[in-house]
């Protein structure tokens, strides 16, 4: 028996779509620039705000959390982990890793469904 899934109602968070959106935002802001102490604050703020605005434009009823970490490449290590207590059928997450020659950038998106 096949279950009919109506096309307009998507179950769960679409991680691939979010991944593409966020990657485009990062490319636009950090593409081709080198690490600069003075600008990093602006960059993280811009990445997070733009990602958030674009994700909201998808029109889904989600509460969104976007985190961005920008680190200078200096040979030192960084470990990140996250643990979430939520409903796995409706909520989801997406992580985008980006790097160039002078810096690394990690963006996490967490989407939590609002039940109407």
């Amino acid at each position: 028996m096949e279950e009919y899934q109506p096309h307009h109602e998507e179950i769960g968070f679409n991680a691939d779509e979010a991944h593409n959106i966020v990657k485009e935002c990062i490319d636009a802001i950090l593409g081709g620039v080198d690490y600069n102490q003075n600008n990093v604050n602006q960059w993280t703020a811009a990445i997070v705000e733009q990602s958030l605005t674009h994700l909201v434009k998808l029109g889904k009823t989600y509460k969104l959390l976007v985190t961005c970490a920008v680190m200078q490449k200096s040979g030192s290590g960084l470990h990140t982990a996250s643990s979430c207590f939520w409903d796995t059928t409706s909520d989801g997450t997406c992580t985008v890793r980006w790097e160039n020659q002078t810096m690394n950038c990690i963006v996490n998106v967490f989407a939590i469904a609002i039940i109407l």
């Binding site: 997070v48 976007v66 470990h79 996250s82 643990s83």
Partner: protein
């Protein structure tokens, strides 16, 4: 036929490196699936979120409770205290080592989540993020933006430093409407 599919499933699970087990007596894997009321706890070591859990459980439709706001508000101070406690206990004496810290981030994330869950704050979903890095005179910026209901949703965070490493722990609490 079912044996073949079970083998395939176990192979797929092994490839992804996930620790959630298929509950079948034939497959000898570490059974760490803990059923607590309606929750299933899975520890997953992959970078991408695993989707096989979602497909197996249909979406639950909840009845309307007509409740407008949380009965009990989220205790930010208590959670700050928990974060300080956990980070200091686990990392006070540690030196930065890649393998140790890789394991440590996952462990600390699970421990913090369990302790905040023990506070039994109803109708709150939790997101716990841990960053552990080496102190090397480099620069690092971490920022976050949230689209949520400011009245009900909140976060708590704590930074720990010792001679060779730093750790940042953040807990976001989102009210379930």
């Amino acid at each position: 036929m079912s044996e073949v599919t079970k083998d395939k499933a176990s192979r797929l699970l092994k490839k992804r490196g996930s620790m959630s087990s298929v509950s079948s007596p034939d497959i000898k894997m570490k059974e760490i699936r803990i059923r607590a009321k309606d929750s299933v706890s899975t520890v997953s070591y992959v970078d991408e979120p695993s989707h096989h859990d979602d497909a197996s459980r249909p979406a639950v439709h909840m009845e309307n409770t007509y409740q407008l706001g949380p009965g009990k508000c989220f205790p930010v101070d208590a959670v700050n205290h928990i974060l300080k406690d956990v980070l200091t206990n686990y990392l006070q004496e540690e030196k930065y080592e890649p393998d140790l810290c890789r394991q440590m981030t996952k462990t600390i994330a699970e421990v913090v989540k369990a302790r905040v869950k023990d506070l039994l704050i109803p109708r709150y979903k939790l997101v716990v993020i841990i960053h552990i890095g080496q102190l090397n005179n480099q620069s690092l910026h971490i920022g976050s933006r949230c689209l949520w209901d400011d009245a009900n949703d909140t976060f708590a965070s704590f930074v720990f430093r010792n001679t060779s490493l730093f750790a940042l722990a953040t807990v976001y609490a989102v009210y379930l409407e």
